[in-house]
């Protein structure tokens, strides 16, 4: 792996301890801008922990200690002067379970904008429409923006969450198993969406579905027991992995 000056995201010897448990061991990886990076690995291997470390969502959990660094555009997000609220505005996140807020569809998408102090109606309208269009949801909800988001289907809800995340125009989009609760058709829509969003954002996606990783990602990292076993071009990982563990996992011999 080469050290590339153009990397959007770079982790260097990054460690996470949950109390006594050493959850991540010396993770070092890079993701270039406008690429999709997939993180795969068996449950509990630390890939979600790593994802949540990027926008410091682990800060709120008690007893979490980190060392090493995660840099975005060369700035360590764990530096003391970094404002975590600003960081999270730059790094959007989509969760495994879709979490539509109990508000209207419009207000859901506008939530982050209002937090940022953006209240001009015309501007909000425009960004909400744009975000919904980019999330491929506009056509389905444009006539009922004022209706509750709780009435949407599971796949629509997840796309709404994506629209909500991209409305604040982040640079990096983190997706934590975004399709694990969805049917194949909704999954296909979201995968298409990821392909489209790639042009604007750097996307890091955690997935249990190896076909999905193979379909959507440019690079793939294999996590196992809190370590990054291997990270390379997706094609390389899936055709000729360098490590035996990776090959075993991909071919279904364990995990």
């Amino acid at each position: 792996m080469t050290h590339d000056a153009t990397a959007k995201l770079r982790a260097i010897n990054f460690n996470v301890h949950y109390g006594e448990k050493h959850a991540l061991h010396d993770i070092t990886l890079e993701v270039r801008p406008n690429k999709v990076a997939a993180l795969i690995g068996p449950s509990g291997c630390g890939k979600s922990t790593f994802l949540r470390s990027i926008n410091r969502m682990n800060d709120v959990i008690e007893g979490v200690k980190t060392s090493g660094s995660i840099e975005i555009d060369g700035v360590n997000v764990y530096d003391s002067y970094v404002d975590v609220v600003e960081l999270r505005k730059r790094v959007g996140m989509v969760f495994q379970k879709s979490i539509p807020f109990p508000k209207s569809i419009y207000e859901n998408v506008a939530f982050g904008l209002r937090l940022a102090g953006n209240t001009a109606k015309s501007e909000l309208d425009e960004i909400v429409e744009q975000s919904l269009k980019r999330a491929a949801l506009w056509g389905e909800v444009s006539d009922r923006l004022d209706k509750s988001a709780m009435g949407l289907s599971g796949g629509q809800q997840q796309r709404l969450c994506i629209a909500r995340a991209i409305a604040v125009n982040p640079e990096i989009l983190l997706m934590d198993e975004p399709c694990s609760a969805l049917d194949p058709i909704s999954t296909a829509k979201i995968e298409e969406l990821i392909e489209d969003l790639k042009s604007s954002y750097t996307i890091i996606i955690v997935t249990h579905n190896m076909q999905q990783a193979a379909r959507v990602s440019d690079v793939t990292g294999f996590f196992y027991m809190g370590r990054l076993v291997e990270m390379d071009r997706t094609r390389t990982i899936f055709t000729s992995p360098a490590q035996k563990e990776t090959e075993d996992y991909i071919t279904g011999r364990f995990g």
């Binding site: 709120v60 996140m93 979490i99 109990p102 209002r114 937090l115 940022a116 509750s148």
Partner: protein, 410 residues
């Protein structure tokens, strides 16, 4: 095979115990419903007396007067004696029929004699018992007479409605005035003060405990606030009367030591736990993932709490506040002890106030059975009943509809 099946099903036997329990549950619940309905009916019937007599007074009275024309000496003396000083010993002596306390039965004698139903006469001895309003004993006539008598000293044209709408509450005076305006103003004043203090305190405390406090801290704070709910209100009233009133007067220099702010503060002490408990439950029921999702969008903890968690719990919060209003509205002991209890038609919060509930509490013990005053007190009770009922209904409807709309989509 077939034999086995039969054996399987032959074990059927009646479950007498369960049937008995089912039925006893049914009976108990229907009895409690019945009791509630009967209480409703009783209160409204007693309160309706004042209106019945007011509307029917004209016609009934005329006929009675006509019929009793021959015995006018009793009637007139009654009329004079039954002015506010209904217990004036003179009147009893003048009628020469009964000791002073028997004045009401006297009246009945007058009416029964007038209508020629002498057989009711025998019930005279029993009349001093509460069952003076036994419908059998010519209730309407008595009522109309009484109301007629107590109304008469006022302007003859003044109806009970006008009296009730008045600005003076002087139920025991030469001209009894039953203006409920000052009582309603007093109730609204104290309730408003109580909610203005209790709602922010209760909601913020609930937010802190549900969303911010450390788990160990929460387990200490929560039961302590909830213990307040079980505090005897007379103790809180006493505390306000003796201590809080003095402190507030020394601090703010109120003209009156006891006023609706002191009373409202006392009520707030009982209302805070209600608002706290229900709000805390509502906030705890909001999925924790909302908070995480909001934080991931760049919200601070407080923004997540105020912009997302609180609105999501809003139906519960509104229910909490409405129930708190209901409690403050109907609370008697604290209102009786700490508000100064003066029926002033004044919106000034620093002035004494008297609430509807406190009025009933204070005057019910010494009111004359069956007098207009008695009917008016029941009318106040009915008013309390209706408002509490309306608040509860509002809570129910609002919460149900809002919850349905919010969480099931539309």
């Amino acid at each position: 095979m077939q034999l086995q099946d039969k054996r399987l099903f032959r074990k059927k036997r009646p479950r007498y115990g369960e049937i008995a329990i089912e039925w006893s549950i049914r009976v108990v619940s229907s009895v409690s419903i019945l009791v509630i309905v009967l209480i409703f009916l009783f209160v409204f019937r007693e309160a309706a007396g004042i209106f019945n007599s007011a509307t029917e007074a004209g016609s009934t009275l005329q006929t009675i007067e006509a019929e009793t024309a021959g015995k006018s000496e009793i009637h007139t003396s009654d009329n004079d004696d039954l002015k506010p000083e209904i217990y004036n010993p003179d009147s009893g002596i003048e009628t020469g029929e009964a000791p002073p306390a028997n004045l009401l039965p006297d009246l009945q004698v007058a009416t029964t004699e007038a209508s020629g139903k002498s057989e009711i006469h025998t019930s005279d001895d029993d009349d001093l018992k509460p069952e003076i309003y036994n419908p059998d004993s010519g209730e309407e006539a008595v009522e109309s007479l009484i109301s007629d008598i107590s109304d008469k000293p006022l302007q003859p044209s003044k109806s009970i409605w006008q009296n009730l709408a008045g600005e003076n509450w002087q139920p025991i005076s030469e001209e009894p005035k039953f203006g409920v305006t000052p009582l309603i103003i007093g109730t609204v004043k104290t309730t408003f003060t109580a909610i203005a203090i209790a709602a922010p305190l209760g909601i913020l405390a609930a937010m802190y405990v549900a969303l911010f406090a450390h788990r160990r801290l929460r387990e200490i704070i929560k039961p302590f606030i909830e213990i307040l709910a079980g505090f005897p209100s007379v103790v809180i009233g006493f505390f306000c009367l003796m201590t809080v009133a003095s402190i507030l007067q020394d601090t703010f220099g109120f003209d009156y030591r006891l006023n609706s702010i002191v009373g409202g503060l006392g009520l707030a002490i009982t209302v805070v736990p209600i608002i706290f408990t229900i709000t805390e439950d509502a906030l705890s029921a909001v999925p924790k993932s909302y908070r995480e999702a909001a934080l991931a969008l760049g919200a601070t903890e407080w923004e997540a709490a105020f912009r997302l968690m609180l609105p999501a719990a809003m139906p519960g919060v509104i229910a909490a506040v409405l129930l708190g209003i209901g409690r403050a509205f109907g609370e008697t002991m604290i209102a009786l002890m700490a508000t100064g209890n003066a029926p002033l038609a004044e919106w000034n919060l620093a002035a004494p106030a008297r609430t509807l509930a406190a009025t009933i509490g204070a005057e019910m013990g010494e009111v004359i059975w069956g007098s207009t005053h008695y009917g008016v007190l029941f009318f106040l009770g009915a008013l309390l009943f209706l408002v509490s009922f309306a608040i509860n209904l509002l809570t129910e409807v609002f919460v149900r509809r809002r919850l349905a709309k919010k969480f099931q989509g539309s």
